[in-house]
């Protein structure tokens, strides 16, 4: 300041008065101060802006960090609260379910009992117990009376003398008839057997008439103890068998006789043994000795 006033004094010592100098000095000082204020204001604002930005950035980071931390903590808190609430809710559900089940069972039993009681009362009204007892008593008494009547009727019949005699006579008659029937049946059986034997003999006699004794004996022996139907069915077959066997035996004997006669002729030795006269008589003798 002093410099500007000194400079002005030197420059304008002839032109400027003391007052003018003072005024210029004042104006100059004011202008300088104003400018200085403006500049300081601008610098301050710039500094503040820079500071604001830095602080904003730092605050942003800080807020972000705080948010993350809070979020993490809040998540943990929420998880813990959820777990706790879920557990409590489960307990509540279990308790309510148990309570409901118990109540439902109790209610069910009550309803069943009520229905049963209602049915009892309805049946009692429609069909009183007294009536049922009366009916059962009547039925039992009726059955008992029937039994007694049955028993007494038999006793009374037997107790009556005339009826007893009649019953006795009837029983004797029935017994006699039974006995007679048995005898007749036995007699009938004997006669039937005899008739069967006679028929059998007659049939065999008729069939065996004209046959030789050996065949007759064979047939009679074969059909002993056989009934007539069996004999009729098998007679021809038996006779054929006998004939066949007799023929076979005859053939064998023929061969043996022929062999023997040839041998005797070759030896030319006389024997005192009695020989059959002819071959036919020899065969007949052998056949007679044959066992059939």
């Amino acid at each position: 300041m002093s410099k500007i006033s000194d400079l002005l004094k030197e420059v304008g010592k002839d032109v400027l008065t003391e007052d003018s100098l003072k005024q210029i000095e004042t104006v100059f000082d004011e202008a300088v101060e104003k400018k200085a204020d403006e500049r300081s204001k601008i610098a301050t604002e710039a500094a503040l802006t820079t500071q604001d930005e830095e602080h904003s950035k730092k605050l942003g980071e800080l807020l972000e960090a705080i948010d993350k931390d809070h979020t993490k903590k809040l998540n943990k808190v929420v998880e813990a609260v959820d777990h706790d609430r879920a557990r409590k809710l489960k307990n509540v559900i279990r308790r309510y379910r148990q309570s409901i089940n118990e109540e439902a069972t109790s209610l069910k039993d009550t309803v069943v009992e009520s229905v049963s009681d209602y049915l009892d009362s309805y049946i009692e009204e429609a069909l009183p117990t007294k009536t049922i007892e009366e009916a059962t008593t009547n039925k039992r008494a009726y059955d008992l009376l029937s039994e007694i009547r049955k028993m007494l009727s038999v006793d009374m019949v037997l107790a009556n003398e005339s009826i007893r005699e009649a019953v006795k006579d009837g029983k004797e008659t029935i017994d006699d008839q039974k006995k007679e029937l048995n005898e007749l049946t036995e007699s009938h059986n004997v006669v039937s057997e005899e008739l069967e034997g006679i028929k059998k003999d007659l049939y065999l006699e008729k069939k065996l008439n004209g046959m030789d004794e050996r065949k007759t004996n064979f047939v009679r022996k074969t059909f002993k103890d056989k009934d007539l139907a069996f004999i009729e069915e098998n007679f021809e077959y038996t006779v054929n068998i006998f004939d066949k066997k007799a023929q076979e035996s005859l053939d064998i004997l023929k061969e043996e006789a022929m062999t023997e006669s040839k041998t005797k002729e070759a030896k030319v030795v006389e024997e005192n043994v009695e020989q059959p006269k002819t071959a036919v008589s020899h065969y007949a003798q052998e056949l007679a000795n044959m066992r059939l």
Binding site: V112, V115, S116, L119, I123, I132, R140
Partner: protein, 48 residues
């Protein structure tokens, strides 16, 4: 007793299910059993 209660339960359940034909049969059976029980009780009493 248990059978009878079971029959009544079945009757009620059939009524709830609107299965009326079976419910009627169950009801008849219950009533019949009750009557039989009453008759059996009456028979046990002395005749004279």
């Amino acid at each position: 007793m248990m059978d009878r209660n079971k029959q009544i339960k079945s009757f009620i359940s059939n009524i709830i299910d609107k299965n009326y034909a079976v419910a009627t049969t169950e009801l008849k059976s219950v009533v019949e059993n009750k009557l039989k029980q009453k008759i059996a009780k009456a028979i046990k009493k002395d005749l004279f």
